[in-house]
Amino acid sequence: MSKKVLIQATINGEEVEFLAEPRQSLLEVLREGLSLTGAKEGCNNGNCGACNVILDGALVNSCLVLAVEIQGRSLTTIEGIAGPQGLHPIQQKFLEHAALQCGYCTPGFIVAAKALFDQNPNPTEQEVRYWLAGNLCRCTGYDKIVRAVLDAAQAIGKIPVEEI
């Protein structure tokens, strides 16, 4: 076991400190060290997106980031998507559209959708499908997920920016 390193970062707007061995992935530390179990392990090699987080504004697979790499950086996880007012429109639309069945891939998709809207607030169906191609779902066939994301884009477009 190599020595643990002290890491300081911002997670969901809060300053956190944690210890991590260099070989521990960000996913592992989030789940086992920080009790942020919303990000899931599906494959641990970047092929399913269940572990998605947003690192300094970029959507990444937390299984392919070392925990020690986030020193001084800023992270958003699924736990940080809902605001103080309540569920984020993306989350609300997922519920309304039944865009989840077992729900295991859902945090990854919601984080991915959030990252999509940060870059492209009005995507087409093809653009949504392309963006979500790195997230696997086995229950839904993607139909309702894509509908929920498109509907969320509409809904967000109507809300004043300050309120999200």
């Binding site: 899931k40 392990e41 641990n44 092929n47 736990e79 989350q91 519920l95 069945q101 077992c102 229950c139």
Partner: protein, 766 residues
């Protein structure tokens, strides 16, 4: 484009009921937890003093274990326990029922931790518990196993040869009821017959005979198997796991560890997909042993994705030969099939179900099916959504398509002509009750998709039908009225896709209250009565029956209390839509609940037998790139008899999900083994499941032919959607590029090879 339709098919005699809750789409009760990441799945659990377990697996597909030396692993600082099969009791051969499928319990024990032989790449050999998962991995590398490597058997046909290496020295063929003389890899040969097929074929104007091969595929749930066990000093064992059935886990653990059920509590966590693959257990007994050995500490285990592929329960690859004959008018006169399914390392494939499904949508007077259950050096197969059905339907529906072409009959008209109806009897003895086979075919025929023009080169449209029997079985539930008029519902059916809400909705309907007034909870094995797992498309139906009973019991008790309050006879009190009335008196359940003189509770248990079977007809348009063999799905419509859609957008979701799995099965998913029997594509990079870019929107038509065996007409919906897609795709590909594929998956390389090896002729457009 039409998206999702609902078509009610109640007959004139059946009342068209007006439901208040059934058929609506409330937000699911666990929804907020699931979209915020708060819901706790098996691997999310953390307990004080918890250790992490890891499994050492065989690098060989077939070998004898000569010795295992765990001493170095045990000496590694931070390692608290190491176990092998020596720590499991030696079990006698005895069949244990899993619900979907069954297994010889001694074989199951050997599957958990190999005893004298390893029978597949990835077969567990030993396990460790350590302070962190990385240490556990390091400890595995220190375990020395000495193997005597044996030649692997990787193919059904090879395994059936007389001179094939034998996997299990104590396995004899059950040859139509008689035991074979010598050990064999053929675990069983069974047969069903109806009429006289020689006669039937003699009456045929056209006969088609084809052979098909399908590959082993995996359910592909995104969440790997997991189990956490705490084996306490007092002998009480608690297991937290993601499973399709907590009681099934309890039974299997009791059997494998030879401890009484009364010592075991299984707490089902949320589950990230199952599809049949999380009924049988893999980790639970290992975690229990490690917990006990480590000084009674909780031990958490979660499988690596590569281990999920290599060593859980994929479904059978198969070889199927089908011969069908029809007369000039298109009536099927005879049908014959020989099916050989890979069981994997131990017997028990779903070849029997395949035999039942293969001609199920058609009334045929002369039928014969032969089925072979064959062991090979691959992981022991498990149920995968309508287990055995997709393989069988692929073979049958492609042959039917060819018959239609030869006879010049439209594929749906042909199926309508031959379609089964109530009272028809199948070769395996099933007699159909009220079913929707013809109705789904009609819905497909009437659908705009079927009549839409499909223009452009290398484009084609395919049709296929499918059947699944579904299941009933045992469920328990209990409920109580809360002082605020809400109702707590406790049930034992694990919620994989929204059933806690579809059950809450049935309770709500029975009491005339909104779905939100019911608080459903999925309980553990100590908190609710025996309940079979969430499989077999049984939950909304069978647990729903128990829930319906609860509603009636509660209603009666509440009415009695109201009658007492109003000092009248119970039959003078009316309770409807959540309101009690008697003459000019009235109160809501919310008004009354805080005044109840005692707790009002109910419990119910059912053994449901009158489940309804499902039929489906799918239409798919494809475009094929003839130079690369790449298939693009342009449009997909799935028509299915759903009985009564309690929670319609979740019923749509079940259909869409099953279609997507069937598409993967049909186009790209397969297990690839090298000549040494090692699985080479044990990751999602090379085990190619559909991604969002690979599919269009999937349209569904919910045809509602109510099941008379349920008060709301509920019929299982979850499994049949996976049955038709590979065949529908094959038929579409034929019309697109003129090649009839007979191998799954129909991957691009295979399609190009098929195109190149024949004279290409694009058939006349229908």
């Amino acid at each position: 484009m039409t998206a999702n339709l609902r078509v009610e098919q109640t007959s004139a005699e059946e009342q068209k009921p007006a439901y208040r809750v059934i058929g609506t789409t409330p937000i699911r009760h666990d929804g907020t937890d699931k979209v915020t990441g708060r819901a706790l799945y098996g691997a999310d659990i953390r307990l004080p003093g918890m250790l992490y377990g890891a499994v050492l697996r065989s690098p060989h597909a077939h070998a004898r274990i000569k010795s295992i030396d765990t001493s170095q692993a045990e000496a590694l600082p931070g390692v608290r326990a190491v176990v092998t099969s020596a720590d499991l009791p030696d079990l006698e051969s005895k069949i244990a029922e899993l619900g979907e499928g069954s297994i010889n319990q001694r074989y199951q024990s050997c599957n958990i931790l190999a005893r004298d032989k390893v029978l597949y790449f990835g077969h567990p050999v030993a396990a460790v518990a350590a302070a962190d998962p990385h240490l556990a991995e390091e400890a595995l590398a220190l375990i020395q196993v000495d193997y005597d490597v044996l030649p692997p058997v990787l193919d059904v046909n090879q395994a059936m040869q007389a001179d094939a290496p034998i996997l299990l020295e104590d396995l004899y063929t059950d040859e139509l009821g008689k035991k074979s003389e010598h050990p064999s890899n053929i675990a069983s040969h069974s047969q069903t017959r109806l009429g006289d097929i020689e006669k039937g074929f003699a009456e045929a104007a056209v006969i088609v005979e084809r052979e098909f091969t399908t590959s082993m595929v995996h359910q592909g749930y995104i969440e790997p198997q997991n189990a956490t066990a705490l084996y306490n000093q007092d002998g009480q064992l608690t297991i937290w796991c993601s499973t399709q059935g907590a009681f099934g886990v309890r039974d299997q653990v009791a059997s494998i560890l030879q401890i009484p059920i009364s010592k075991i509590r299984v707490v089902p966590m949320e589950i990230g997909g199952g599809f049949g693959g999380k009924i049988g257990i893999y980790l639970e007994p290992i975690a229990a042993l490690l917990s006990r050995r480590s000084g009674h500490r909780p031990v958490k285990m979660s499988m690596k994705r590569s281990d999920v592929f290599a060593a859980t329960g994929p479904t059978s690859g198969s070889t199927i030969r089908v011969k069908m004959g029809a007369d000039q008018q298109g009536r099927i006169t005879a049908a014959q099939a020989v099916l050989a399914y890979e069981a994997g390392a131990y017997p028990g494939s779903f070849v029997g179900a395949g035999m039942g499904v293969i001609f199920a949508p058609y009334r045929i007077e002369h039928v014969r099916t032969d089925g072979y259950d064959v062991v090979v050096n691959k992981p022991r197969t498990a149920a995968y959504r309508a287990p055995g059905g997709t393989n069988a339907a692929f073979a049958c529906e492609v042959v039917i398509d060819e018959l239609c072409e030869k006879l010049g009959i439209d594929p749906i008209e042909f199926r309508l002509l031959n379609g089964v109806r109530q009272g028809d009897r199948r070769a395996d003895g099933v007699v159909y009750d009220r079913i929707g086979c013809l109705e789904t075919l009609q819905a497909a025929r009437e659908h705009p998709h079927y009549r839409a023009p499909l223009e452009g080169p290398f484009r084609g449209r395919g049709v296929a039908s499918g059947y699944w029997g579904n299941y009933g079985g045992m469920s328990s539930a209990s409920a109580s009225i809360n002082p605020d008029g809400t109702i707590s519902l406790v049930e034992g059916s694990v919620d994989i896709g929204g059933t806690r809400t579809s059950l809450a909705m049935q309770l709500a309907e029975g009491l005339g209250v909104p779905a939100e007034a019911v608080r459903p909870v999925v309980a553990d094995t100590d908190q609710v009565g025996y309940t079979e797992g969430t499989y077999g498309s049984r939950t909304t139906f069978a647990t729903g029956l128990a829930v319906y009973e609860l509603s009636q019991i509660l209603k009666n008790k509440l009415v009695e209390h109201a009658a007492r309050l109003w000092e009248v006879e119970p039959d003078q009190v009316n309770f409807a839509e959540g309101i009690f009335t008697c003459a000019d008196k009235q109160m809501t359940l919310q008004d009354f609940a805080p005044q109840l003189p005692e707790p009002v509770v109910a419990s119910a248990a059912v053994h449901a037998t009158k489940w309804g079977a499902s039929f489906a007809t799918h239409i798919v348009d494809v475009e094929v790139d003839p130079e690369t063999g790449k298939v693009t799905i342009l449009r997909y419509t799935a028509c299915q008899d759903v009985g009564k859609a309690v929670y319609p957008n979740y019923v749509e979701g079940q259909i869409q999900g099953g279609v997507a799995q069937g598409v993967g099965w049909g186009l790209n998913e397969e297990y690839l083994y090298d000549e040494k029997g090692r699985l080479v594509n044990a990751s999602w990079l090379d085990y190619r499941m559909p991604v969002s870019l690979d599919l269009p929107m999937i349209d569904t038509v919910l045809v509602e032919v109510p099941n008379p065996g349920h008060p709301y007409g509920v019929r299982g919906v979850g499994e049949v959607p996976i049955v038709p897609p590979p065949a529908a795709l094959a038929n579409a590909i034929y019309r697109a590029v003129g090649v009839r594929m007979n191998v799954l998956p129909m991957s691009p390389g295979r399609i190009v090879a098929a195109i190149q090896s024949r004279a290409v002729h694009v058939p006349e457009k229908d």
